[in-house]
C-alpha cells in the first residue's frame, strides 16, 4: 500500500474535514473508491453530488465512511472542483493518482495530526442527513416537501446548489408545496396534534421558510412562505389570501368500510391441526423485521384474521404514509408468493387485506414493501436491516436530546446486530448504550441539530 502523507494545505477548510482514506480504482466499474471508516451500528447516510456519493456514518456524522466517484477516468471539471471542495485540493489530487492503476491502494490524508481527524463540517453533515432523510419512505407529501426545503436551504448555505442535480427545482417545488400545505403546525402534524407540537419544530420550520424566502425568485411564492412564518403580518397576509386553497392531498385508494373482525363460525374455530391452533402466535411472528413500517417508524405491525381466509395488516394513523405500498405473503418454507395486495386507506389507518388458507397462514411470512418486485430478504439480512434502523433511531433520539430513549434504542440495536451475526456492530452499539464508547482517535461524536421531518422519531 502506498502511503501519501498530506502536504500542507493552505486552501479553505475541506467540507469533509481532514480524514484518512484508502484510495482504490476499480477497473471493472471505473469507480474510484475512497474508504475512510467502516459504517457503525447505525449504518450510513448517503448523498450523491454530481457523480460523487458521500457516505457518512449515521452514528457519528463527523466521520466519513467512504466516497465513491463514478466514471473516474473521465471526470468533468465540475466534479474535480467539487472533490477539491469536499476533500481539499491535496487529498483530491492524491486520490486521482489511483485512477488507472488497478493495483494501487493509496493511503491518503489525515496524517498531519497522527490519527487525528478533523470532522466533517457540521453544516455539510446536516445537508447529507437532510438529503438522506428527504428520500426516506413513509413521509407524507408535505413532510417530504419540508425535508426537501431543508436540504435545498442547506445546500445554498454551503454554496453546493450547483453540484446537486435539480437543486433549483427542488427549492422551488418544495417551497411551493410547503406554502400550499398551509400552516406549519398542520404540515408537521395533524391539526388535532398541533397543540402537542413543541415550538422548536415549528420554529425550525419557520426559520427554514424565512431562509427559503430569501432564495426563491418568485415574489408571490416568497410572500406566501413569509405568510407561513408571520401570518398576522399584513404585507404577507394578502399573499396568503390570494393563494388558492391548499391542494387536497392525493387521495389514497379507498376500500369500502369493512366489518372489523367478524366472529368466526364455531365449526371453523375447531381446527384439528396443531399449527393452526397456534395461529394467533404465528400471525404475531409473520411480519418480517425489515418491513417498511418497522424500519422507518419503529411501528410494531400485527396481522389479524377478519374472516375465515381473509387477513388484515393494519397500520394505525398511517393512511397517508403507506400509499403505494404493498403487503406480500409468502409460504414460510420456500417463499412461494401467496398474496400481494396494495395498502389502502381505511379511515385514518392504512390497511392491506389478503386471502390465504388457514393452513398457509400458520407458517406464512409477510412483508411490507414499496416495490413489489423486490426480493424477500433472507432472514439474517432482514434482522440486520432492522438493527441498522434501530441504530438510526437511536441517533435521531440523541439529536432530539431524548437520551434515555436513545439508550434503549442502542440496546435494541445491539441485540439485533448480535442476532444478525454482526458481533462487532453489536458490541459497538452496546458500548454506546452503556456510555463507554470511545473513538479510536479519542474525538467526541458530534451531535447535529435534528432535521425537521424524520419518521424515525418525530419531533412531536
Amino acid at each position: 500500500m502506498t502511503d501519501v502523507t498530506d502536504p500542507l494545505d493552505t486552501g479553505p477548510e475541506p467540507l469533509l474535514g481532514v480524514q484518512q482514506y484508502v484510495a482504490e480504482w476499480d477497473p471493472l466499474t471505473d469507480d474510484l473508491l475512497l474508504t475512510g471508516t467502516l459504517p457503525g451500528p447505525a449504518g450510513s447516510f448517503v448523498m450523491t453530488l454530481r457523480g460523487v456519493a458521500v457516505v457518512l456514518d449515521a452514528a457519528d456524522p463527523a466521520v466519513v465512511n467512504s466516497l465513491m466517484i463514478t466514471e473516474s477516468t473521465a471526470l468533468a471539471d465540475s466534479t474535480r472542483q467539487l472533490l477539491s471542495r469536499l476533500l481539499g485540493g491535496d487529498v483530491a489530487g492524491a486520490a486521482w493518482g489511483a485512477v488507472g492503476d488497478p493495483t494501487a491502494r493509496m493511503r491518503i490524508g489525515g496524517r498531519r495530526s497522527r490519527r487525528g481527524r478533523d470532522g466533517v463540517n457540521p453544516e455539510m453533515a446536516r445537508l447529507v442527513l437532510a438529503m438522506s432523510t428527504a428520500g426516506d419512505a413513509g413521509l407524507r407529501a408535505e413532510e417530504r416537501a419540508l425535508a426537501n426545503l431543508e436540504a435545498a436551504v442547506l445546500a445554498h448555505r454551503l454554496d453546493l446548489q450547483s453540484s446537486i442535480d435539480g437543486c433549483a427545482e427542488m427549492l422551488h417545488d418544495s417551497a411551493l408545496a410547503v406554502a400550499r400545505a398551509g400552516p406549519l403546525e398542520r404540515t408537521l402534524g395533524r391539526p388535532s396534534d398541533a397543540d402537542r407540537l413543541p415550538t422548536s419544530a415549528v420554529s425550525i420550520a419557520a426559520a427554514l421558510c424565512r431562509e427559503a424566502a430569501g432564495l426563491v425568485t418568485d415574489d408571490l411564492l416568497r410572500a406566501r412562505l413569509l405568510h407561513l412564518t408571520e401570518p398576522d403580518e399584513p404585507r404577507h397576509a394578502a399573499a396568503g389570501a390570494s393563494a388558492p386553497a391548499p391542494a387536497p392531498a392525493p387521495a389514497p385508494m379507498q376500500l369500502p368500510t369493512m366489518a372489523k373482525r367478524t366472529r368466526l363460525d364455531h365449526a371453523e374455530e375447531e381446527v384439528a391441526e396443531a399449527a393452526i391452533a397456534y395461529l394467533p402466535h404465528a400471525l404475531d411472528r409473520a411480519v418480517t423485521p425489515d418491513s417498511l413500517p418497522n424500519l422507518i417508524g419503529g411501528v410494531e405491525v400485527t396481522i389479524s384474521r377478519t374472516s375465515n381466509d381473509e387477513y388484515e395488516l393494519r397500520l394505525a394513523d398511517w393512511a397517508d404514509r403507506a400509499d403505494g405500498w404493498w403487503v406480500r405473503a409468502f409460504t414460510g418454507a420456500d417463499h412461494v408468493p401467496l398474496a400481494m395486495v396494495p395498502m389502502a386507506s381505511d379511515g385514518p389507518d392504512a390497511v392491506g387485506r389478503f386471502l390465504v388458507t388457514e393452513h398457509a397462514a400458520a407458517s406464512m411470512v409477510v412483508d411490507v414493501v414499496n416495490d413489489p418486485a423486490e426480493v424477500l430478504a433472507p432472514e439474517q439480512i432482514a434482522v440486520f436491516r432492522a438493527a441498522v434502523a434501530a441504530g438510526k433511531r437511536a441517533g435521531r433520539l440523541e439529536r432530539l436530546d431524548r437520551h434515555d430513549e436513545a439508550q434503549l434504542a442502542w440496546q435494541r440495536a445491539s441485540e439485533l446486530h448480535f442476532s444478525a451475526g454482526d458481533s462487532w456492530r453489536g458490541s459497538t452499539a452496546a458500548a454506546i448504550a452503556a456510555g463507554r464508547f470511545q473513538r479510536t482517535d479519542g474525538a467526541r461524536a458530534i451531535t447535529l441539530e435534528p432535521v425537521v421531518a424524520d419518521l424515525l422519531a418525530p419531533m412531536a
Partner: protein, 226 residues
C-alpha cells in the same frame, strides 16, 4: 418468437451472473465488498442471491447486461451499501406496456387447464415476477384468483360477488380484482352496475386471465423441457 429470444437472452444473463459469482474472481469481489462495508463474511450467499434476483429483474424487464463482471460488481456494491441505508421512498412506475403486451397471450381455455395443473408453486413463482408486467395489480389479482379458485379461500364479507348467471370462476375473478384494489370495477355502495363498469371489469378480468395463461404456458413448457 421475439419473446422467446428475449427470454433466452435474459436467462443467459442470469446464469452468467450466477456463474461469475461462483468463480474465484466473483467470490473475491463479494468478500471485498463485504469487507468494505464491514459486513459479516457469512452474508456472502445472501448477497449473491440478492444479486441474482437483480439479474432476473433485468431479464424480466428485457434489459441486457453488457458486462457481467462490471454489472455484478456494481450491483453487489450497491446492495451491500443499501443494507446500511434507510429504506428509500420509491414509487413503482409502470413499465413499457409493449414489453408486457407481448407476454399476454389470450387463451382463456388455458384457465381450465391451469386448474388441472399441479405445478401451483411454480405458477405462483412465475406470476410473482412483477417486473414482467407493466402494472402490479394483475399480479396481485392473479395470486388472489389462485387463492380463491384453487385453494378454496372464501373472500371476506365486503368483497363483491356476482349475483347470477355467473360462470364458475367469475366470483374468483371478482375477488381477485377487489383484493388487488381495483374497486372501480364494481358499483359503489347501492349504485348501479353500469355498462362502463361492466366493460372495465371485463377488460381487467381479461388481463388477469392473460397473466394466468402466460404463467401456465411458461411453467408447462419448463416441465416439457425437463
Amino acid at each position: 418468437m421475439a419473446l422467446a429470444e428475449h427470454n433466452a437472452q435474459g436467462d443467459t444473463d442470469v446464469a452468467r451472473v450466477a456463474r461469475w459469482l461462483t468463480s474465484a474472481d466473483g467470490q473475491a469481489m463479494v468478500r471485498r465488498e463485504l469487507r468494505r462495508c464491514g459486513l459479516p463474511d457469512s452474508y456472502d450467499a445472501d448477497l449473491a442471491e440478492m444479486t441474482e434476483h437483480a439479474a432476473q429483474r433485468m431479464a424480466d424487464r428485457g434489459q441486457p447486461i453488457h458486462s457481467i463482471p462490471a454489472w455484478t460488481t456494481q450491483t453487489v456494491r450497491r446492495r451491500a451499501m443499501d443494507l446500511l441505508k434507510s429504506p428509500a421512498h420509491r414509487r413503482r412506475d409502470p413499465l413499457d406496456e409493449s414489453v408486457a403486451d407481448s407476454t399476454l397471450v389470450d387463451s382463456s381455455d388455458s384457465i381450465a387447464d391451469l386448474l388441472a395443473a399441479l405445478q401451483l408453486a411454480d405458477i405462483r413463482r412465475h406470476i410473482g415476477r412483477v417486473d414482467r408486467h407493466p402494472f402490479a395489480w394483475p399480479v396481485s389479482a392473479s395470486l388472489s384468483f389462485l387463492s380463491v379458485a384453487i385453494d378454496g379461500c372464501a373472500p371476506g364479507r365486503c368483497c363483491p360477488a356476482p349475483i347470477g348467471g355467473a360462470d364458475e370462476y367469475d366470483a374468483a375473478h371478482w375477488a381477485a380484482l377487489f383484493y388487488a384494489g381495483e374497486t372501480a370495477c364494481f358499483a359503489a355502495n347501492g349504485g348501479a352496475d353500469t355498462a362502463t363498469i361492466r366493460q372495465r371489469r371485463k377488460r381487467r378480468i381479461d388481463a388477469v386471465r392473460a397473466v394466468l395463461a402466460d404463467a401456465y404456458t411458461a411453467t408447462r413448457s419448463e416441465v416439457d423441457d425437463d
